[in-house]
């Protein structure tokens, strides 16, 4: 028999093996829910499947009595909007500063220490400050995401810019390029796929700050809803929301990978 390190599953076995833990968790939940319901039919901790259905139907497919909105979709829209605006701004700032500090040593020497210092500030510690400066509206939530992930993006892209083989920079100079042309034509196009990589890594953090900001001050949003219904122990709402957030996170990650492969095939082929 082959060694364990040499035994690889074929595709169907790999899929089966991968699905098993999901099924196990579902079965375990189902069993736990039934046991608790048998003891106490009003138990709220592990709602049954039909209770989930009712909750989802109420939030996603019935207009709210108070506002006439479909709360679930309204929450999703608000959260995604905050997340995407925040991530887009952070990506832009991160790209600009990472590229310029990586490409021009004088600017790097000038800005890197302050960027490092700022990156060490825990973003949640400045959240009150953001609320004071930007108010309790949308801006402060977007700002928290920006404050939370931009330093990482700058530093990562600085390093990626530095990692581009110096042979290419020398080559471009022997082809007559000036600094600006080298940044625009040699560095920037090669940094863009690396920006998408860095965004994938920082999305998890962006969600964290989004939900934290919504939990503290918001009137809608996925994080807001979870923390609102927590008071009533509404597991029938919290759990579907958590699954939905997880799915959205997965979807964004998947979109980034697909986009990157479609726009930058040379980057993925060379890896």
């Amino acid at each position: 028999m082959k060694r364990w390190i040499n035994r690889t599953p074929n595709q169907s076995l790999a899929i089966t093996l991968g699905i098993i833990p999901f099924l196990l968790i579902m079965a375990l939940y189902q069993w736990g829910s039934e046991v608790r319901k048998a003891e106490n039919p009003n138990d709220k901790l592990l709602p049954s499947v039909s209770e989930f259905q009712t909750a989802i139907d109420r939030l996603a497919f019935t207009p709210s009595k108070r506002t006439g909105e479909y709360l679930f979709w309204q929450d999703t829209k608000s959260s995604l909007q905050r997340l995407l605006i925040g991530v887009a701004c952070a990506a832009f700032i991160g790209l600009m500063l990472g590229l310029i500090t990586g490409a021009i040593p004088l600017i790097g020497a000038n800005l890197n220490p302050i960027i490092t210092a700022i990156s060490l500030i825990p973003p949640m510690a400045v959240l009150p400050l953001l609320f004071i400066v930007f108010g309790l509206g949308e801006l402060s939530k977007v700002m928290l995401i920006i404050v939370g992930i931009t330093p990482f993006l700058i530093r990562d892209l600085y390093q990626r810019t530095k990692d581009i083989p110096s042979e290419q920079l020398v080559k471009a100079q022997t082809l007559g390029a000036n600094s600006f042309q080298i940044i625009i034509r040699v560095l920037l196009p090669q940094i863009l796929p690396r920006l998408l990589d860095a965004l994938r890594l920082s999305l998890g953090t962006a969600w964290l700050f989004l939900i934290a900001a919504e939990a503290i001050a918001a009137t809608d949003g996925l994080g807001y809803r979870i923390f609102l219904v927590r008071r009533y122990l509404s597991m029938d709402v919290i759990l579907p929301y958590v699954v939905w957030i997880t799915f959205l996170a997965f979807l964004l990650d998947w979109l980034l990978v697909k986009t990157s492969k479609a726009i930058f095939p040379w980057y993925h082929a060379a890896k």
Partner: protein, 260 residues
């Protein structure tokens, strides 16, 4: 005024306490093809980098057309490294045409008819290095030999005064290397280039150049190996070299290889 294209006068190069090259004196005329050999770490690449402008000499003078050589790379001196010297995000013809784009556009990008002209000129040089069939491919789709052909085409489109090659074929298979030798000799003759080429392969050095330089230390201090630097110990017109001097150089190289 001398009629030499390149002149080194008492050039010395050290990194901190490490004296790498010393007492380099040489004159090179336009159209010479110089091959350089020497043991690993003796300073061949350092010599080339000083010519290229990425390293500055510590003492002495380096003249290009009687002017002190500029302290950063520029389009007078073309370079082909062993690897990494093509742009992975551009297609083969864009890799060559980009030199024209740098030349005639502030943002380094041409459009429409002028871009077409740049691409057409790139095709001409791709034809000269035998890459025209692959002009729409990306570097990662090319073999090692084809990537080096591309790097050569890039360097040639700027008509450099000097072409610098640092072990350009070191990573290639012997068969492909033969093809590349033929290509370089053809291009050298056709475009009257001045070429400096570092190689690890003594035979390559003898076969290709008009002049062979051997870099070596003339003095050794066993207690402080960095005290003395290498210099050019042999400077031979290659056409006239006989078997005896080939053997002598090979012995001196392999001697170091054993003791290193």
């Amino acid at each position: 005024m001398s009629n030499y294209q390149i002149e080194f006068r008492h050039v010395q190069k050290s990194y901190g306490d490490n004296l790498v090259l010393e007492n380099i004196n040489c004159q090179v005329k336009k159209g010479e093809f110089i091959t350089m050999v020497g043991t690993s770490g003796c300073g061949k690449s350092t010599f080339l980098k000083m010519l290229l402008g990425t390293e500055q000499h510590s003492k002495g003078q380096i003249l290009l057309d009687n002017q002190p050589i500029s302290a950063e790379p520029c389009d007078e001196r073309g370079i082909v490294f062993q690897k990494y010297s093509v742009f992975p995000h551009l297609s083969v013809r864009e890799n060559v045409a980009i030199a024209k784009e740098f030349e005639s556009s502030f943002i380094g990008r041409l459009f429409g008819k002028r871009r077409q002209q740049a691409l057409d000129e790139a095709d001409k040089w791709l034809d000269a290095v035998g890459l025209l069939n692959a002009k729409h491919k990306y570097p990662h789709e090319l073999s090692g030999g084809m990537q080096q052909r591309l790097a050569i085409a890039q360097a040639l489109i700027k008509h450099p005064k000097v072409l610098l090659l640092d072990e350009p074929f070191g990573a290639l298979d012997p068969g492909i290397r033969k093809d590349m030798h033929k290509l370089v000799l053809d291009l050298w003759q056709k475009y009257e280039l001045t070429i400096f080429m570092v190689t690890h392969d003594l035979e390559e050095g003898f076969y290709l150049g008009t002049r062979l330089w051997v870099f070596d230390k003339t003095r050794h201090d066993p207690h402080a190996p960095h005290r003395f630097g290498s210099t050019i110990t042999f400077d031979l017109p290659v056409g006239k070299t006989d078997q005896a001097s080939y053997q002598e150089i090979e012995d001196s190289l392999s001697l170091h290889a054993l003791s290193a």
